[in-house]
Symmetry: D2
């Protein structure tokens, strides 16, 4: 496993929320990350759809780790802000969040991510995020 | 209890995620809603701060219910989109999300919400949301 | 010219701002629109870059018309909200905004758009927008 | 005139776009800025409302200068991103954008701003912005 993937997987492993919601880090490549989330009844809003905050959680983690995958070796990342459009009810057997770096800067990285609901092998776009992530470099 | 408050409390009670993260609906008034969230180790990101998606969950519910509190009697609400700025690490004994309606329209309502971390009685602003919520009115 | 393109070109022609900043509607296809903007010294901010509001103007028009290109025949469109990330200084001989529909709904359409600076034939990404547009259908 | 106000007014004076649209810097105080914009037929969209990009221009300048008013003495500011909700048609004799700093950090400052239409002395809220601004400090 390459250094950037190891760094991303190690950090993902320390996100207690991801374990709590049973999210799984599928793939990590330079500038792209995929996270899988099973549907869970305990994660829903009032209509039994997945709560927008849960979808946001995996989109945010996916964006952060996409940014981390191309960050300087000693950098950590921190979400500065994000915007989410909810495009369809989040109903499905499971969900996939796919993030990609749009532009990596020295201090700030901008990522976009889509969330898809999976039903019997079909994917449906349910949400999309545009996010700004900051590189935190420890001072010497 | 007035009708709008009953409607909000009943809907909040059906959001399984809110029970899962132990969030509590504090106050409901026309156009404003407060939600309390205790810190939980199982809800954190890699630095032991509350995950941005968890903060977003309570901000989103607060905005949705602020909109619902002023919506037509037969309307349901649905989040269209939101934008969150993360202003400080979400560390604290507990958190409060406070949402208010900025403009209520026939179809769309815009809300803003702030999230505060509480430590020994002190409040610190940790995140802020601007959200668009849609009134869903069942067809006759 | 097909009906949707005629509708888009006719509406663009009524946007006085587009003439004021010398923006030109390049291409219109179902769900995608391109607008060209020449650099203008009278449109700059304090560092002689194009002002973010000018870049936003062409991104917003591009998103609105991408949405209009797939809207019901009798619908007008109105921007509900947008979010813009400024990715690089807007310096160049001219600029191109390219918008595409991400999801077209009955009431709301979500579009994304990128703005590129052109210098000696090279394109550089300078800004990106995620926007929500509403279909306005005249009541019978 | 205090140093921060002088710095803001001098920078505003170099924004050619503000002169082009006849925008005027009304007030500058630590963390708040007001800009006035007269209505102009050459700044409209297809329904003769002010174009959303023009409203965004004054909201963005107001947020940037609110941030600059509290930035370190040697810092310049740059807009990182903003999100705008359009709340009502921008029709009026003139418009006022009012920005305030929500949180000033070392590197990033978050501001909010509202735009109001003025008609016969009445103010109506027409748009609201949430923005992230970066301090640019020249390297020694």
């Amino acid at each position: 496993m390459l250094a950037f993937e190891q760094k991303v997987r190690e950090s993902f492993g320390r996100q207690a929320l991801m374990a709590t919601i049973a999210a799984e880090l599928l793939s990590v490549a330079p500038g792209t990350v995929e996270i899988r989330l099973p549907f869970g009844r305990h994660l829903t809003q009032q209509n039994d759809f997945l709560h927008a905050g849960v979808i946001t959680s995996v989109l945010d983690s996916a964006c952060g780790y996409a940014a981390l995958s191309v960050a300087p070796e000693n950098a950590e990342v921190l979400s500065v802000e994000f915007k989410v459009n909810l495009l369809a009810p989040a109903v499905g057997e499971s969900f996939i969040a796919r993030a990609q770096v749009k532009r990596a800067g020295r201090t700030l990285t901008v990522c976009t991510a889509d969330a898809f609901a999976l039903n019997q092998g079909n994917e449906k776009l349910v949400a999309t995020m545009q996010a700004t992530i900051m590189n935190m470099i420890p001072q010497a």
